[in-house]
Amino acid sequence: MREVAVIGAGMSRWGELWHQDLRDLSCEAVLKALAETKADRVDSIHVGCMTGGLFAGQEHLASVMADCLGFAGVPASRSESACASGGVAFKAAYAEVAAGLCDVALVVGVEKMTDVGGDEATYALGTAADQEYECYNGATFPGLYAMMAVRHMHEFGTTRRQLSQVAVKNHSNGLLNPEAQYHAKITAEEVESSAHVADPLRLLDCSPITDGAAALVLCPLDMAKKLGKKAPVKVLAIGHATDTIALHSRKDVCRLAAVEKAAERAYKAASLKPEDIDLAEVHDCFTIAEIMVTEALGFARRGEGGKLVASGATAIGGKIPVNTSGGLKSKGHPVGATGVAQLVELAVQLRGEAGGRQVKKPSAGLAQNMGGTGGSSIVSILGVA
């Protein structure tokens, strides 16, 4: 296996972008990522997209993307693992480069979510849960995460205020990220008085509906000097795992087994421990998710993810900064693009280009991307080459 480097990283604008479609968004992100490189060709394209069909009426994204990016003729494929689609597309590209099947691989994650109304968006996102045995009975995604939150509160004494502190921190980080969808400082009181969605979760506990794309360019590490313009970032490890589709099928509804397994595999492959990680981008689709994910990644002991955020350890400048980009909560959550954008943030941080949200001299960053209620998860660790 060859060592693999990230030599280009870019994001489109993120937000409610009525004037841009799937292709415009992808093109914007890819042009930025390619502009960071000297690559004069792309050997392979990997697209991460959850459901172009339900959100934009467009499937066959392999052809659509190769075409609109000006690379018709280049092999392309699309990875789908609900909200973890972007992370899985990255893994597919990494594997190709590592195996020597290609040299320059392009990863593009994209989702165009605002061409449909609220009911349709809820339906499309609900397809990441168990349609027959959860959604049939009236479950929604916020509802499923709310049930994890209620059980977490019941078992460990996690508080409503600790949930709010996740949102407050991530919006505070998002203020420092020009690419974020929302630039708004919020208070815990504002979170706790925002509209009810699914008790105990309120509107400001939830990540938004977002249009956006993100892109990465990968190549073998030993070609990074020739093909890259900036200091290369090395892919240290990728861990990937699955769990049951329905939340109720799990022995423990407030334990993210897929995240634990993916992290264990990534740490082992990179010969690193949780305390060796300098920053993490995690899948905070809901505030409770960040709390549970920090436990699954080993940053907090089981049941103590709420205390971790309350302690300030996950803020920029803390022991383990989490979601310096603003996370899904503030940066936005175009589902298929999220996993790729998490890695863009790691690349920017590891190169020392993150401006006001820069973590002091990081050497290793971790990205955790998750599908559904944790039915799939992928953990990638990047490091300074």
């Binding site: 049939y136 009236g138 916020p142």
Partner: protein, 129 residues
């Protein structure tokens, strides 16, 4: 909702029929073709317990399409007395009455009406016992 899709799940939804592994006894709802504990493919049909308790819950206040008329409603992961857990609504129960551990009883109920033709979908819900 396509009639065939609705029809094929009637045994589970109307009668709580699950599959029990003939080799190791593990129960699956919905029934499946392969046991993840012992890899056996031999199953017998059993009926799940109709009593249980609330394992965790939420109150859905932003409902999905087809559920607006019922909103707000209590949704729960219910642990039945035989240990099987399922996601279902807690009917006849106000948002302030539900709690972890609440004893419940399964009832056959209307779930909703879907599609332009208004296919009426039935299934299981629980009520406070």
């Amino acid at each position: 909702m396509q009639p065939q899709r609705y029809w094929r799940e009637i045994p589970q939804r109307y009668r709580l029929e699950a599959g029990r592994c003939r080799r190791c006894g593990k129960v699956f709802m919905p029934p499946r073709g392969l046991c993840d504990s012992c890899r056996s493919t031999e199953f017998e049909t059993i009926r799940l317990a109709d009593r249980g308790k609330v394992h965790t819950y939420t109150v859905i206040r932003v409902p999905p399409a087809g559920f607006a008329a019922q909103s707000p409603y209590v949704l729960a992961v219910v642990e039945l007395d035989d240990g099987v857990r399922l996601t279902m609504q807690v009917a006849d129960c106000g948002p302030d009455e539900v709690r972890v551990g609440l004893p419940v009883r399964v009832e056959f109920r209307k779930i909703n009406e879907v599609g332009k033709s208004g296919v009426i979908c039935y299934g299981y819900k629980v009520v406070p016992a």
